[in-house]
């Protein structure tokens, strides 16, 4: 993904910088340009790249004033911090507790992987001892209920949905009530894919959210998404209280920078990543180790940091 290549570019840029005998404004700018280029090639939003560049420059220049500090090291640290900040707003998301009923609602753009990820999420918690259940509040997409039903059946997770009812709010409410009665402690509501250009779709999402009062709204995002990601993610955030993000299709070749920007737009942490179509291809996401590992694939070493 983006970060591996990015790691490489950053290392190269930094190496060039340390080859220079005098580190002046120009050397610093060259280095930053190189890093920005890598970020842009990975779909990180244009404006964010510029902001990041400004931030780094400020940090580096300020700290450089302090005597005897290593600019290269400061650069590395600044880049790392900026990336971390993009992926982690610093406040942890809601986490479901065993035995205490929680409702988790999945939202996102069309085809981003919501339905697949719902089951993965349920399955993950089932193995941890939860009693999950799946509600299909997607009454729009052809075959949506069959998809959820087949996934749930394979994973032996109870599900609720309807072939006849066309009102997603009604189904969501019925499903949530039913599973609360059945003492399920993790009730997962899958919704239709939607996009900000269609206001009616966003209104529907708002209504489902209002009626089911989810403890957590998860925004599911495809890692191959480009710069449109930012605006879309922001629009979702403004309509419902997105509290966490899951990035899917990380098994692909996508550089993931669009997703990176969009995460920043939601001001919510990434909690899991999807790495394949199968139910167990799902990983907990932890920003620092993830960043370190990815960056080091591109030989960006942070030994200087610790």
């Amino acid at each position: 993904m983006v970060l591996a290549q990015l790691g490489g570019s950053i290392s190269r840029a930094l190496a060039q910088m340390s080859n220079a005998t005098v580190i002046d404004e120009k050397v610093l700018n060259d280095c930053l340009n190189e890093i920005s280029r890598a970020l842009l090639q990975s779909d990180v939003q244009f404006k964010m790249v510029r902001d990041m560049q400004t931030n780094i420059k400020r940090i580096v220049n300020l700290e450089a004033l302090a005597a005897g500090t290593n600019k290269r090291r400061i650069m590395q640290q600044a880049v790392f911090t900026e990336l971390c900040n993009m992926l982690d707003p610093g406040k942890p998301s809601f986490t479901p507790k065993k035995g205490k009923p929680s409702v988790v609602m999945f939202v996102g753009l069309q085809g981003s992987g919501k339905t697949t990820t719902c089951t993965k999420y349920a399955y993950y918690h089932q193995r941890k001892g939860f009693k999950p259940a799946l509600v299909c509040a997607d009454t729009f997409r052809a075959g949506a209920f069959d998809q959820l039903k087949q996934n749930a059946t394979k994973a032996k997770i109870p599900f609720y949905g309807s072939y006849m009812e066309s009102d997603p709010v009604k189904i969501a409410v019925e499903g949530v009530e039913r599973f609360k009665k059945e003492n399920c402690d993790l009730i997962i509501v899958d919704t239709s894919g939607r996009h900000k250009q269609e206001a009616a779709l966003f209104e529907e999402m708002r209504q489902v959210s209002e009626a089911t009062k989810p403890d957590l709204v998860i925004f599911v995002m495809d890692s191959s998404i480009g710069q449109a990601a930012f605006d879309q993610a922001q629009a979702f955030k403004q309509s419902v209280s997105v509290g966490a993000v899951i990035i899917t299709k990380m098994d692909g070749h996508a550089k993931g920078g669009g997703a990176l920007s969009a995460v920043a737009a939601t001001k919510s942490p990434v909690i899991f990543i999807g790495t394949g179509e199968h139910i167990d291809e799902f990983e907990v996401f932890d920003v620092k180790p993830f960043l370190l590992q990815k960056l080091s694939e591109g030989s960006f070493t942070l030994r200087l940091m610790y």
């Binding site: 280029r37 842009l40 090639q41 990975s42 779909d43 244009f46 753009l109 069309q110 085809g111 981003s112 992987g113 339905t115 729009f140 997409r141 052809a142 075959g143 949506a144 209920f145 069959d146 998809q147 959820l148 039903k149 087949q150 996934n151 394979k154 996009h195 900000k196 250009q197 269609e198 495809d222 191959s224 998404i225 480009g226 710069q227 449109a228 990601a229 605006d231 879309q232 299709k249 098994d251 692909g252 070749h253 996508a254 550089k255 920078g257 669009g258 179509e277």
Partner: protein, 303 residues
């Protein structure tokens, strides 16, 4: 400044072009044109202008802008065009169905847009059979069945976990028997670097030699658009068991309604594959299928 406006005999040098091109490249990238393609476009514009005389009363920036517009138009206007309806009639003459296979990565809109294409063909009084060859993803068969029911057209399906190449073969045989004009083959989504799945796709295509292989790519995609298309073509070529492998013939650009002015994926996809954009998907109902409006893409990109 005066010189650059009144020009006349000024010869354009590299350094004159740099600032304008840099700005233009940034603009293209904010519209989501892949970085390497924005770069290449700028290089080619620079090459075409360097050493040329600047016309009277034109500025560098408008000259560059015009050259860029022309370059983009050239890319988006396909050298080879495909007239599906004409080709369908030609196949009809030979008493066999015209076969279209839809391919692409996961969730881009293959099945939905396949249904829209079916609707479009029905509008032209052609008969259509759907072939449910995504035998992997949960609900894929039911999804296609729902479309077949709504459009009141036949569907050929064999459930899940079958070899999709075989299902396609049988579907084409069935359509030949029932004298269906067109067979639309739905396939499972797959990542471009998933070798076993790409091999299976190559098999499906080579075994059935469809008339048209359509790559469905979403307008939402970023720089990955380039990689998706390159890899699909590359893998179809490399993993083919037959010498003359079939590659992607045309592109269906989906979810165009979700990207506002960030329309660059269109340019990136055509640029790397040389395949024309045959349809644009712009919504979730059957009528949301359009032809590419080249002029409006150019305007959006350079606006």
């Amino acid at each position: 400044v005066f010189q650059s406006i009144a020009g006349g005999n000024t010869v354009i040098g590299k350094s004159d072009l740099q600032p304008t091109l840099k700005a233009l490249k940034d603009r293209l990238m904010t519209k989501k044109v892949a970085e390497e393609i924005a770069e290449k476009l700028c290089e080619s514009v620079a090459a075409s202008l360097e050493g040329k005389k600047l016309g009277s009363f034109t500025s560098i920036s408008s000259t560059v802008q015009a050259a860029m517009e022309e370059a983009i138009l050239r890319i988006l206007t396909p050298g080879r065009s495909i007239d599906i309806l004409r080709d369908v009639y030609a196949a009809k003459e030979r008493e066999r169905p015209y076969v279209i296979v839809f391919v692409g990565v996961n969730g881009v809109g293959k099945s939905t847009n396949l249904a829209k294409v079916a609707y479009w063909l029905l509008q032209h009084d052609l008969s259509v059979t759907l072939a449910a060859c995504d035998t992997f993803r949960s609900g894929a068969v039911e999804q296609l069945r729902t479309h077949a029911r709504r459009l009141q057209i036949p569907i050929f399906e064999k459930g899940y976990e079958r070899d999709p190449a075989v299902v396609a073969k049988q579907a084409i045989q069935e359509a030949t028997r029932t004298k269906s004009d067109v067979v639309l083959v739905d396939t499972a989504g797959r990542m471009q670097d998933n070798e076993p799945l790409m091999r299976a796709l190559s098999k499906l295509i080579n075994v059935n030699s469809p008339d048209l292989v359509v790559f469905v790519g979403e307008a939402l995609v970023g720089n990955d658009a380039v990689d998706q298309l390159t890899q699909f073509n590359q893998k179809l070529a490399d993993l083919s068991a037959v010498p003359a492998a079939r590659l992607i013939d045309g592109i269906l650009l989906s979810k165009f309604d979700t990207v506002d002015d960030k329309v660059g994926a269109a340019l990136s996809m055509v640029y790397v594959s040389g395949a024309p954009i045959m349809f644009v998907g712009c919504g979730q109902s059957y009528t949301d299928l359009k032809k590419l409006n080249v002029k409006s893409i150019v305007n959006t990109l350079l606006k």
